[in-house]
């Protein structure tokens, strides 16, 4: 090859073997959140313990048999279950674990969003695959929900990038040295959390896998596929919560503790808010949520982006 392609060298990334550790880190964080969630549920139901529920569930699903349905589309069905956790891990590669991410991409926030969107395809495929009405309805629900919440999500992320005048996650953290973005752009932060829950079909947005559809897109999944799908959903939620830290909460900034510990603490706090929201609010009908997104959240985030860009311009940016 006489003409080597110029790929910008990764400047501030972690060593390559962190790419292997990253899924593990995500799983540990998601696992602890799931354990606490199960413990809270057990306590609410008056049962003791609950912390071991995730371990029981994982074991049960690992040894479980695959359900077969008539005239299924196995290719897309399996792909749907596999893509979800893979997308979550890929999304997480741009999140600084401490001060440096696994991959320091110049277009980090766009990458994060693009990988999150893979969840659409995953849930739809998982809903389509088994040739079952309820799961297909769940898949369609998620497409409508993803479409409605992708725009506010994108605007919220872009607002943070706008404030830092960079798409690189490291630059966004650097821009928050004096003041966290959550103070400058509270609307974007709240919308990011709300839409992150919607993109992970979590909390009040879990209509795609809700009980009125007998589990929706996940209704026919069993065994390892179900583990990948539901585990992938936890990972996606964890990745979104972890992304809120560099975007709005100053990354690893904080007194006393090292950067990685602060990232962990902040991630767990955001995750706790999301988990709490699911317990606090009931699932709300799709048509209601969709209209709220289009009519309220989109204008709000556009206005927030406009305000931030005017401030950036007034401070002499670019």
């Amino acid at each position: 090859m006489d003409d080597p392609v110029t790929v910008p060298p990764p400047t501030a990334a972690l060593a390559w073997w962190w790419a292997l550790l990253l899924p593990l880190v995500l799983i540990v964080v998601a696992w602890s959140a799931a354990a606490v969630d199960a413990a809270v549920e057990a306590r609410a139901a008056g049962r003791p313990g609950g912390l071991t529920v995730p371990a029981h569930e994982v074991t049960r699903l690992l040894v479980g048999q695959r359900r077969r349905t008539l005239a299924a589309d196995p290719v897309l069905w399996r792909a749907g279950a596999v893509v979800l956790p893979v997308a979550a891990v890929l999304a997480a590669v741009v999140i600084p674990l401490g001060t440096r991410p696994v991959a320091d991409l110049g277009v980090g926030v766009v990458w994060f969003n693009a990988m999150e969107v893979l969840a659409w395809a995953a849930v739809w495929m998982a809903g389509w695959g088994p040739n079952s009405v309820l799961s297909l309805v769940g898949g369609y629900r998620f497409v409508a929900q993803g479409l409605a919440y992708e725009l506010p999500h994108m605007f919220a992320i872009i607002t943070a990038a706008l404030g830092a005048q960079s798409l690189r996650v490291g630059d966004i953290i650097a821009a928050q040295q004096d003041l966290w973005f959550v103070v400058i752009m509270p609307v974007a932060f709240v919308v990011f959390l709300v839409s992150a829950a919607a993109m992970a079909f979590w909390g009040p947005f879990d209509a795609p896998v809700a009980g009125d559809l007998a589990g929706g897109a996940a209704s026919e999944l069993s065994g390892v596929d179900r583990l990948l799908f539901l585990g992938g959903r936890w990972l996606l939620l964890t990745a979104a919560a972890a992304m809120a830290v560099p975007l709005f909460l100053g990354g690893g900034a904080g007194p006393l503790l090292p950067a990685w510990a602060w990232v962990l603490v902040k991630t767990l706090l955001v995750l706790a808010v999301l988990v709490w929201a699911r317990r606090r609010f009931p699932t709300i009908r799709m048509d209601r949520w969709s209209e709220i997104s289009w009519m309220v959240l989109v204008p709000l985030t556009v206005a927030q982006a406009l305000v931030v860009s005017i401030v950036v311009l007034a401070q002499g940016g670019l």
């Binding site: 003409d3 277009v107 766009v110 969003n113 659409w120 369609y140 479409l147």
Partner: protein, 185 residues
């Protein structure tokens, strides 16, 4: 790098073939998506980070929406009863193979000019500068086009106009919609 190129280029073409070979419309759609993702990989390989990732983002969204329409308008969405829905297959084959031969001849015979200059250190930044600078007119045209598309497509595809929603004199106090929505109108 060369290996990556061959893998991605082959994947793009093979999945492209898949679009017209597979029976299940859902698989057809995702085959097209795979072809797009391979091309996005090639664009990334050429150092266009932003455009490559944006192609991934856009095409995933576009193809998932495409899948819905595919299933809505096809007689046989799951491909459980394979059927051929072609017209003028030999003619189409002749024209497309002819086009490929013509293009390939041109590609191989043209004496391509030498590469001039080097990419900007940050192509994304250069693109943004261009779109907000000398290519501003292009960007504004795109914006207006997209806006016109939104209005035109909604008008074309909706079955209900304002008279259906607000009455013949447009004086109904609240719109008569089949679904309520969450803002309480």
């Amino acid at each position: 790098m060369v290996v990556t190129f061959w893998v991605l280029a082959l994947a793009a073409v093979v999945f492209g073939f898949g679009v017209f070979r597979l029976n299940s419309m859902a698989q057809v759609t995702f085959s097209l998506l795979a072809s797009f993702l391979a091309v996005a990989g090639l664009v990334l390989l050429l150092g266009l980070g932003y455009l490559g990732v944006v192609i991934v983002l856009m095409m995933v969204i576009e193809m998932v929406i495409m899948a819905i329409f595919m299933i809505m308008y096809m007689m046989n969405p799951a491909g459980l009863m394979p059927m051929a829905m072609y017209h003028n297959k030999p003619g189409a084959m002749t024209i497309s193979v002819g086009t490929f031969v013509l293009l390939a001849t041109g590609i191989l015979l043209v004496d391509w000019p030498q590469r001039t200059g080097a990419p900007a250190p940050d192509p994304t930044f250069a693109l943004g500068r261009a779109l907000m600078g000398e290519q501003m007119l292009t960007m504004m045209t795109l914006g207006i086009t997209l806006f016109a598309t939104i209005v035109a497509t909604v008008v074309l595809s909706t079955g209900r106009g304002r008279y259906d929603r607000l009455g013949d004199d447009l004086d109904a106090r609240s719109a008569d919609d089949p679904l309520g929505g969450g803002v309480g109108r």
